[in-house]
Amino acid sequence: MAMQDYIRSRFFPHIWCVGCGHGTALNALLRTVETLGLDPSDIVMVSGIGCSSRMPGYVDFHTLHTLHGRALAFATGTKMSKPELTVLVPMGDGDALAIGGNHFIHACRRNIDITAIVLNNRIYGMTGGQFSPLSGPGVVATTAPYATYDPAFDVMRLAVGAGASFAARGTTYHVIELQQLLLKAISHKGFSVVEVLSPCPTHFGRRNQQGGSVEMLEWLKANTTKLGSKAAEENPELITRGIFVEEERPEYCEQYEQVLAQTREE
């Protein structure tokens, strides 16, 4: 299939602002789906509420646009009830880790075969630029006019700590690398998390002197480096990209199949 066949062009134009990274992330995701040769009828995309959560409307999969923070809970029911489906869950940073934090850690713990894509723009875009649990200190937002002092979650450490068997971080600047990470995440048997640093020029860049979309992409280039690289070692302040965990562990739906087999024997 050609990539545009995965798109519901009937519902375009999309709602994302000029310079938003989410379109780039969607592009990378669809190219990955194409590379994997997945049948769109075998894919369910589940989302919550926020800019990134509008993604399902635009893709020609089975799509479920739910409640703020709850996407992984809905997705868990979908996956558990039909394990043969590929379940993709795009989430925003507030969606995934503020209101949805509990569902996030429990999805990691269960190791259910779902791919969570955390589109991290460090801001609540849809509601007009309030800070999120991934903003970190020193960020100006509409609810932090004197700059934030809230520490940020490290999504990778949180996911690994909660039991995710695959966790990786990429950016919308490093698109080829992002596709490789998504490919591994979707192919991985178990819960996979891909954090995507995705610029929000409208609400983050404008208020935090990061400029427009080009300057924000340049920021991603200058401030991130590959995990395990010499640059990372020499500059601990750089944000690392790459795979933080990739382990084979019992997958949740497969474990349930064993319970089913056991009750059949009895």
């Binding site: 009828s41 089975h62 799509t63 739910t66 809970a73 868990t76 029911g77 979908t78 996956k79 009750t263």
Partner: protein
């Protein structure tokens, strides 16, 4: 459940009856979070669901539980969750989602005393209005109840049938007394009770399928996630493809559809029982556990020549106002018996011709309302003192 005879008569607890009835109705997916006094439903499901080839999930909270069953309903399963007051409070936003996205599902609320953590192991019937108006925004809802095991079985099957027929969440609103009461149940034979199958679309693959375009009869045939029709489901106002819209015409049409599909079918949804109503000059109206004491006092007073009757409601929402009005037309006194500070009594007052004749007999201390409690109210109403 203990099967003690060959004729399928079992001695069981109400919560177990509810669980077995769900399986009878074809439930294939259960997700929940334990909470007293509903936990036995989930425990029973944990044992029985895998054995019937279905899927069982213990989620991290009640929000996730309702979300998970909605996610499973879309792949074609009949689904259920069960909870009690605090958990039902947590579910309200997700309940509204199920209404808006028109997802068939059944939610059991085994009521306990509230507000807040309240009385975890004691009885109340104080979530009647929460079932109606707990989630935000305009909507309509179906809530059913029962006062004994036999009725609970049938009402639970009805709940699944209505969820499928109207594509909506249905609430089974029982209480701690009914949930924990052990009594006889005559297990219905397979095929004895009607079981409504999911209505699936006949639109062939390759033809544009409109998941949110109601047929002339108001019903919307579904297509399972994983099948060939791919469509969008959202909690936003949406068009016939399920895509978000702010078009005023579409919004107006959708909210009317959501309310009308239930309110216009009030007669099909209404469930009730009546005892000695034909000549009653005093009508008791009750439901759930309270109806047991109400029936006891009716039978007891009839022996003494008092013209007492009972209207037992088994569907609380949509409220059967016309039925109540008709059954109370000849009554000098109408006494609503319920275990709350007065909820159904307000609906009865709105329904009848003489609201000044409507009284409340209630009990709100966590103890089961007794026939004596009701008798005392009757004596006061009739000017005889207690």
């Amino acid at each position: 459940m203990t099967n003690n005879t060959n004729n399928n008569t079992v001695f069981v607890q109400g919560n177990e009856v509810c669980a077995e009835a769900a399986l009878y109705a074809g439930m294939g997916f259960y997700a929940g979070y334990p909470i007293t006094p509903s936990s036995e439903i989930m425990e029973h499901m944990a044992r029985r669901v895998p054995a019937t080839g279905g899927r069982f999930l213990q989620m991290e909270d009640e929000i996730a539980s309702l979300a998970a069953i909605i996610g499973a309903s879309l792949t074609g399963h009949k689904v259920m969750t069960a909870t009690s007051g605090p958990g039902f409070s947590l579910m309200q936003e997700t309940l509204g989602f199920a209404m808006m996205a028109e997802i068939p599902c059944v939610i059991v609320n085994v009521q306990r005393g509230g507000p807040s953590t309240g009385l975890p192991t004691q009885a109340a019937q104080s979530d009647v209005y929460q079932a109606r108006w707990g989630t935000h925004g305009d909507h309509s809802v179906i809530a059913l109840t029962a006062s004994n095991n036999q009725d609970l079985f049938e009402i639970t099957v009805d709940a699944f049938n209505m969820a499928e027929t109207y594509r909506t969440p249905v609430i089974v609103l029982i209480d701690e007394v009914i949930g924990h009461l052990r009594e006889k149940l005559q297990m219905p034979d397979p095929d004895e009770l009607e079981v409504v199958k999911r209505l699936r679309t006949a639109v062939p693959h390759g033809v544009d399928y409109h998941p949110y375009l109601p047929r002339e009869d108001g019903r919307l045939p579904m297509s399972d996630f994983g099948d060939k029709h791919r469509y969008n489901v959202t909690g936003l106002y949406h068009n016939m493809w399920g895509f978000p819209t702010t078009d005023p015409t579409v919004i107006d049409g959708l909210i009317h559809h959501l309310v009308d599909k239930i309110e216009n079918n009030l007669h099909q949804i209404t469930r009730y029982k009546e005892y000695y109503l034909s000549d009653a000059d005093c009508v008791l109206i009750s439901y759930g556990c309270s109806a047991r004491s109400a029936l006891h006092i009716v039978k007891n007073r009839r022996q003494r020549g008092m013209k007492l009757g009972l209207l037992e409601l088994q569907s609380l929402w949509p409220f059967p106002a016309g039925l109540v009005r008709e059954k109370c037309a000849g009554a000098q006194h109408i006494v609503v018996v319920e275990m709350n500070m007065g909820q159904v009594v307000h609906e009865v007052k709105r329904a009848v011709d003489h609201p000044e004749r409507v009284y409340l007999a209630n009990r709100v201390d966590g103890e089961f309302i007794t026939p004596t409690n009701i008798k005392n109210v009757l004596r006061v109403i009739m000017g005889r003192g207690v």
